[in-house]
């Protein structure tokens, strides 16, 4: 297990280098001068010398490879630099946004897993019933709904029309602010999990050991949950791991619609401002997070299936 974890950690090094290099190249290819983004149109009178001095201050006067290598050198020492736009240290800005994204992602994932696994299991147990049909149609709709549209519809119904929930914002982390963003983010993932759970359950539900369990006279819920569902969980766990990526990318849109002060919103704002240090910092952090989640998923296979070993 330790060797497995070490190997996986080492694999991260080239991944991180690749990710930062691609981000760096993309941000420079897209164009847009970060210094010009800082200047208001009202400062139209800024002369070239003053602009150059700002550029020098931020190290933007250096050739691109030098800029990149300097960034990597600093990052290796744990310094992600300072934001062009706000001058605050990137690491602390990213960490400040992490709790909000974590809260949203966790709530959405918990909701998606609870509802998705329950619906998928029930649909498999009641195969070809009206419930199965309804669940699968709902799952298809859930996968197809654009997050943006769903978010705005929820907002208009629950906040504007019925005034049940606040329309947007963080509210210092109060639960009522979390409901709509979490549901919006969870919708598509719930649908995917429900479909995968259903098909995995259908495979195991007719397996010999399930028939045996039933023949022993175990109650039906025990047969379903303890014997069938546990064995059907491996593909579901894989999907949950993959869908963590959807949570992070979906958070970009969800956080923007609902003014949720997380990393996704900061990423969008930073790209718009050409705030390269901030974009790099966020990309590194999100990539690390994603790698960590995948590691947890790999480890959890062993928990779901005792036959899986990593040594």
């Amino acid at each position: 297990m330790v060797i497995f974890l070490l190997r996986r950690s080492l694999q991260l090094v080239p991944v991180m280098l690749g990710i930062t290099l691609v981000t760096f190249i993309l941000m420079n290819v897209v164009g847009g001068d970060p210094v010009m983004q800082l200047l208001d149109q009202r400062q139209a009178g800024m002369d070239e010398a003053a602009i150059q001095s700002i550029r020098r201050e931020w190290g933007l006067d250096q050739p691109l490879p030098v800029q990149y290598l300097r960034f990597v050198g600093r990052a290796l020492r744990g310094d992600l630099g300072r934001s062009f736009a706000s001058r605050e240290p990137v690491a602390s800005a990213v960490l400040a946004r992490f709790p909000a994204t974590f809260q949203l992602g966790l709530a959405a994932m918990a909701l998606a897993v609870a509802v998705g696994v329950a619906l998928g299991t029930l649909a498999a147990v009641h195969r070809r019933s009206w419930f199965d049909l309804l669940t699968m149609v709902a799952a298809l709709v859930g996968v197809s709904l654009p997050v943006f549209w769903l978010g705005l519809m929820l907002m208009y119904l629950l906040a504007v029309k019925w005034r049940l929930l606040p329309a947007s914002g963080y509210g210092g982390g109060q639960l009522q602010y979390l409901v709509m963003p979490a549901v919006t983010l969870a919708a598509g993932i719930t649908a995917v999990i429900a479909r995968i759970t259903r098909s995995a359950m259908l495979e195991v539900i007719r397996a010999d050991y399930v028939v045996t369990a039933r023949a022993k006279g175990l109650p039906e819920w025990q047969v379903t949950v303890k014997h069938a569902l546990r064995n059907a969980l491996i593909p579901v766990i894989t999907v949950i791991g993959v869908e963590m990526g959807s949570v992070l990318s979906g958070a970009v849109i969800t956080e923007t619609i609902f003014n949720w002060p997380g990393m996704g919103r900061l990423l969008v704002d930073s790209i718009n401002r050409r705030d390269l240090p901030m974009v790099q910092g966020l990309v590194i952090f999100i990539a690390l997070l994603f790698a960590l989640v995948n590691l947890v998923v790999d480890v959890s296979y062993a928990l779901a299936d005792p036959r899986v070993r990593y040594d």
């Binding site: 800024m46 001095s53 001058r87 329309a167």
Partner: protein, 529 residues
């Protein structure tokens, strides 16, 4: 297991549902004098005016940081703020300010003349990467200080605690305007030094509102400064909520959880036609002109007849009505209609497709031509509408949509044929014309079209040295007439800014510099409905 599970799950679920649905957003239900504004920009990232002074930051920092003088954009007047009085020498070179004795920083310390000198030096200090580094170049010794050749700005002299003298190297009629802007912000030295790089995150100033808290990407909270020298504001506080999504802003407004929002075209059309809400609209032509900027150094726009032809070819009023939801005014000159320099006698270009055709033929383009025009997401539809008038003449603007910053960068570099954007914001008409049409300002400083006319340069230079206001305005009008005649722009329209407020909000003003720059000391709330 079964029993324990049951005991846990139902109370938790019930608590979740109740807490989710039971209480309305606390922020909106307040009956106090706290104004909740939607800031239609993202989080500014810093509230240090030195690091950022665009609208997203300035709409907040203008309430935290006071200045020697303030500009009233509605009355178009300069008035004292931290300075109780000021005088200008007859030659326009020496400004003397008397500071109020009761003007305090938010930490309770009185503001002295030395603080003002420190603040000016901080704004242009070498190595500060200030976005306003050139703001005081006209002050004696400022350039040497900015370039690190002097330890202080010799032209700023502290005479006791409450008198400050600033000497200029040449007359600058707009100097007081500059002092009234972000560059004139007064900082308490001890707080800047104590907080270091954190000053932009926890700013301390001397304005009518005190910084209270900031939830990044969510909101900034300011509270009234009880000891403000101009009297405590009527509002107890202001909350700026960062909402860049228009639909989200509007949902919050309809839910009554924000008090004020600035409107885009679609929402403007909705509120302007709603008899119940239209009385609460605040509208103003902003100090911005929308135009296609032609690169006059490249064919076909190096020929003035081609530029004039485009100006005659398009029916501006029809586009404003049908495409812009009437949220604009047809432009007749380059200076916007709310500018102090707006010339009512200037008639601009009438819609006359025949004349356009004739001018194109004279210029050697009887069958028209194609050109590349840089647009951004918000201006592409303008260009599409303009093309419907150009196409019958054989002229086609091939749209290249870029991110606005990229389009502007290419334009500043001169790597373009035409680019469409909205430009302006300067209170002073001379500053507007000089940065965009003086040949010394090619490229980065603002003259993206590379327009050059020595006579216009001379008129603008002379206006810059003229203290007699009537003469100065005449020079500005003369220069603008020539610019409009030679038209390096397709002069399109003036933006109409619109803001909608809840019925309980009073005292909002049609501020032409930017409708976001409201004087919140004048705003108050009646009980919410």
């Amino acid at each position: 297991m079964k029993g324990r599970f049951r005991h846990l799950i139902w109370p938790v679920l019930l608590a979740l549902v109740l807490s989710a649905c039971g209480s309305r957003a606390a922020r909106g239900s307040s009956s106090s004098q706290v104004l909740i504004r939607a800031a239609n920009y993202g989080d500014p990232g810093t509230l240090d005016p030195l690091a950022k002074s665009d609208v997203s930051a300035r709409m907040i920092t203008m309430h935290i940081f006071d200045t020697l003088v303030k500009y009233d954009p509605v009355a178009r007047q300069i008035r004292g703020s931290v300075a109780e009085s000021y005088s200008v020498s007859p030659n326009g070179l020496t400004y003397t300010f008397r500071l109020k004795k009761n003007a305090l920083f938010h930490n309770g310390r009185p503001i002295t003349a030395a603080d003002v000198k420190y603040s000016i030096e901080r704004t242009i200090a070498p190595g500060s990467a200030s976005v306003m580094a050139t703001a005081f170049d006209v002050v004696e010794g400022a350039l040497a200080f900015r370039e690190g050749r002097a330890a202080e700005i010799t032209g700023v002299q502290v005479q006791g605690d409450h008198e400050l003298v600033i000497r200029l190297t040449k007359p600058m009629p707009t100097f007081l305007l500059d002092l009234a802007g972000a560059a004139g912000s007064i900082y308490p030295r001890e707080e800047v030094e104590r907080l270091g790089a954190d000053f932009g995150q926890r700013p301390v100033g001397s304005g009518p509102f005190v910084f209270e808290s900031w939830t990044k990407d969510d909101q900034v909270v300011l509270k009234a400064f009880d000891r403000y020298h101009g009297g405590r504001p009527r509002l107890d506080g202001v909350i700026f909520r960062f909402m860049d999504e228009e639909q989200t802003r509007d949902a919050e407004f309809q839910a009554g959880t924000i008090d004020v929002q600035v409107l885009g075209e679609a929402l403007y059309a909705k509120y302007a036609t709603d008899p119940a809400l239209s009385p609460y609209l605040v509208e103003v032509p902003e100090l911005f002109t929308r135009a296609i900027h032609f690169n006059v150094t490249r064919p076909p726009f190096d020929d003035v007849r081609v530029r004039q032809a485009i100006n005659h070819a398009v029916d501006r009023e029809a586009i404003i009505q049908r495409v812009l939801s009437n949220k604009a005014f047809p432009a007749t000159g380059v200076l916007p209609s709310s500018s102090a320099g707006f010339n009512r006698d200037l008639k601009g270009y009438e819609y006359n497709p025949e004349k356009a055709r004739q001018l194109l033929a004279e210029a050697g383009y009887p069958h028209g031509f194609a050109f590349e025009v840089l647009t951004s997401s918000s201006t592409t539809k303008w260009m599409e509408a303009i093309n419907t008038y150009l196409n019958p003449l054989g002229v086609n603007g091939k749209i290249v949509q870029l991110e606005l910053g990229t389009a502007l960068e290419r334009a500043r570099r001169g790597d373009f044929q035409a680019v469409i954007f909205s430009t302006g914001g300067e209170t002073d008409p001379l500053a507007f014309l000089t940065s965009r049409f003086h040949s010394k300002n090619w490229g980065n400083p603002g003259n993206v079209t590379r327009y050059s006319n020595p006579f216009v340069d001379r008129l603008l230079d002379e206006a810059a040295q003229t203290l007699d206001e009537a003469r100065r305005m005449q020079l500005i009008h003369d220069a603008e007439s020539i610019i409009v005649q030679e038209t390096p722009w397709f002069i399109f329209n003036y933006n109409k800014a619109a803001m909608i407020a809840q019925p309980w909000v009073h005292g909002l003003q049609p501020v032409p510099t930017d409708i976001d720059f409201q004087d919140l000391t004048q705003v108050w709330l009646s009980p919410r409905q």
